[in-house]
């Protein structure tokens, strides 16, 4: 296992190098002068020159890259040009709501997907199964922002049960804090639930047809024991793979969800930085998100090997 981890980590090194180079080049892809794009036309030339010097844009690109990488290795991701604060501080302040949203959404998706997929697979080709697969199709094709607005319309505007925007920390505010996260978490969770339902249903159907399930039933085990002990365990492997593949979609979904519900998370920070043309902040946050994404994928890969011994032995 240790060898697999080391091999996987080594394979990440060139990718990390290319990712940092790509993020560095983002600023230079701007058509025209990036400083003109970041500052209004009315800003005087002196201020623009000062920003150009501060960002090192007056030096050759190779020198800029070496200096940027040097700072990066020391953990300095630059400063926002809007509030002057280091990127790391901007992100760490926004991390809490994003993590709370992700955990709640993941919980909701598992709570919805498992029962729906199990019932669908057990009642294969019946009305219940068709309802389950329709739900999955609905969730996959429904854009995140549209689902968010539907939920706001029904539960916020019409029924007035839940707040439609804003954020209160559940750890400080308790129930009102949790209520502020319900609609965003359901929005994000249902989309993920749809993908998990589809995958789990088909892998359950495959596992239900296996010989060991027939043997377990022939032994006289109850249906629940057969499902829990034999079918579900074997059907989980593709779900882990799909969860790994869906991480990127989940992060994208979180960006939209945080934007719609005015949740002050990392996703909202990206959108705000993009529209403020705060390029150093955009670079810093995108790089951190990419690093987080690479690490999560690495963990999913290792988890996959841990769950399925056949992969470990390969």
């Amino acid at each position: 296992m240790a060898e697999v981890v080391v091999r996987r980590l080594l394979a990440t090194v060139p990718v990390l190098f290319l990712v940092t180079a790509g993020v560095f080049l983002l600023l230079h892809l701007t058509p025209g002068d990036p400083v003109d794009a970041m500052m209004a036309e009315s800003v005087d030339a002196g201020a623009k020159e000062s920003l150009r010097r501060e960002l090192g844009l007056d030096r050759p690109i190779a020198v800029q890259y070496v200096a940027w990488m040097g700072r990066l290795v020391r953990g300095d991701l630059g400063r926002s040009i809007r509030n002057g604060e280091p990127v790391i501080e901007n992100v760490s302040r926004r991390l809490r709501p994003s993590l709370q949203l992700a955990v709640l959404a993941m919980g909701i998706s598992l709570l919805v997907a498992f029962p729906v997929a199990i019932v669908s697979a057990l009642r294969h080709n019946t009305g219940v199964d068709r309802a389950g697969t329709t739900f999955a199709l609905f969730g996959i094709c429904m854009p995140n922002f549209l689902l968010a607005l539907l939920l706001i319309f029904v539960f916020g505007v019409t029924l007035r049960w839940l707040p439609i925007s804003g954020y209160l920390d559940p750890f400080d505010e308790g129930w009102p804090g949790l209520r502020s996260l319900v609609l965003p978490a359901v929005t994000l969770g249902l989309a993920l639930a749809a993908v998990i339902t589809r995958t789990l249903r088909s892998s359950l159907l495959e596992a239900l047809g296996e010989d060991y399930v027939r043997t377990a039933r022939a032994k006289g085990l109850s249906e629940w024991v057969v499902i829990r002990g034999h079918v579900l365990k074997n059907a989980l492997i593709p779900v882990v793979t799909v969860l790994g593949l869906q991480l990127g979609t989940l992060i994208g979904g979180a960006v939209i969800t945080e934007y719609v519900f005015a949740l002050p998370g990392v996703g909202r920070l990206v959108v705000d930085a993009v529209f403020a043309r705060d390029y150093p902040l955009v670079q810093g946050v995108i790089l951190l998100i990419a690093l987080g994404f690479i690490v999560s994928n690495l963990l999913v890969d290792l988890l996959y090997g841990w769950i399925d011994p056949r992969i470990r032995l390969r």
Binding site: V15, L146, V157, G248, I251, V255
Partner: protein, 300 residues
């Protein structure tokens, strides 16, 4: 590699007869239409294409014409999907928005298929260092969550449809590059490729006559499945304000503009929302049908 030989001389020996190819195409079509929901998907796609092409004829009003005296009007005979906050006809804007969505879906996927196809072919054929560089580059692109990468690229390329098309093209390129490389690696070890090489066929000739026809099927399947997601991605970027700029109509930007009026005029959001949802569902069915039709493994 030896110089190329006349195509006609070689083609006679290895290209299957036209009737066999024709039969295969009919088999594919038969398999595709066997999917229960394919007709619905095809109908949706057909309607969307007709609406996009005939938008100037079908739209009852000018999609940009404001009428402040008739703002937030409920859906009725005069305005089937109501009017928005500045009195523009929602149906006309939905009809014009179809153009943007279809262009975004098809063009961005075409860019990705072309760029990915060329890169994948280069990586698979050249092997060695070129393969390593191209594939690590693709891994690096895949290291960014797709929407976040599109958002960052859209931001630096500037708001507007061109920026979005290029950004989505870049985001989807690695998928096609990986597919093409896999096909090239698999095809180039086949006996008939060795035979072609022995007969003196050039690398380019082999790529055009053996690799491309074999790689076309998975690329077409992937492209058909990607279009729906590209349409969703364009709508998401427009919703965030990066796509087609106001006052031009796109489904995503219409939904964003309408969310402030959800209580008084939900039709501003749900008109374009329904169009987007139905189109994506339809395209998914078409994509599934194309996959079922072109993938012979499913018929075994």
């Amino acid at each position: 590699m030896a110089g190329s030989i006349p195509e006609s001389a070689y083609a006679d020996r290895i290209v299957p007869g036209a009737s066999v190819a024709g039969d295969r195409r009919w088999d594919a079509l038969r398999r595709a239409t066997r999917a229960r929901l394919a007709p619905f998907g095809a109908a949706v796609l057909l309607v969307a294409i007709v609406v996009a092409l005939a938008a100037p004829l079908l739209a009852p009003y000018d999609p940009l014409a404001q009428n402040l005296g008739n703002s937030l009007a409920r859906p009725g005979r005069a305005h089937w999907l109501g009017t928005d906050n500045v009195g523009r006809d929602v149906l006309s804007r939905v009809i014009w928005g179809t153009r943007v969505s279809l262009v975004a879906g098809f063009v961005s996927v075409a860019i990705a298929a072309l760029a990915g196809g060329v890169l994948g072919m280069l990586a698979g054929y050249a092997g060695g260092r070129a393969d390593g560089v191209v594939m690590r580059l693709m891994d690096a692109v895949l290291s960014f969550p797709p929407l976040v990468l599109a958002l960052a690229l859209g931001a630096v390329l500037g708001a507007g449809l061109t920026g979005v098309l290029l950004a989505l093209g870049v985001v989807y390129t690695p998928t096609f590059a990986r597919l093409m490389r896999g096909q090239v690696l698999s095809v180039k070890t086949r006996d008939y490729v060795d035979a072609a090489r022995a007969l003196g066929a050039s690398g380019w000739w082999i790529a055009r006559h053996h690799v491309l026809p074999n790689a076309a099927t998975p690329i077409v399947v992937q492209a058909s499945l990607s279009v729906a997601f590209a349409i969703l991605a364009e709508a998401s970027l427009s919703f965030l304000g990066l796509g087609v700029q106001p006052p031009a109509a796109s489904w995503g930007s219409m939904i964003n503009a309408g969310r402030g009026y959800l209580q008084q005029a939900p039709w501003i959001v749900f008109g374009p929302g329904a169009a987007l949802f139905v189109t994506v569902v339809g395209l998914n069915f078409v994509g599934d049908a194309i996959r079922d039709g072109l993938d012979p493994r499913l018929t075994r």
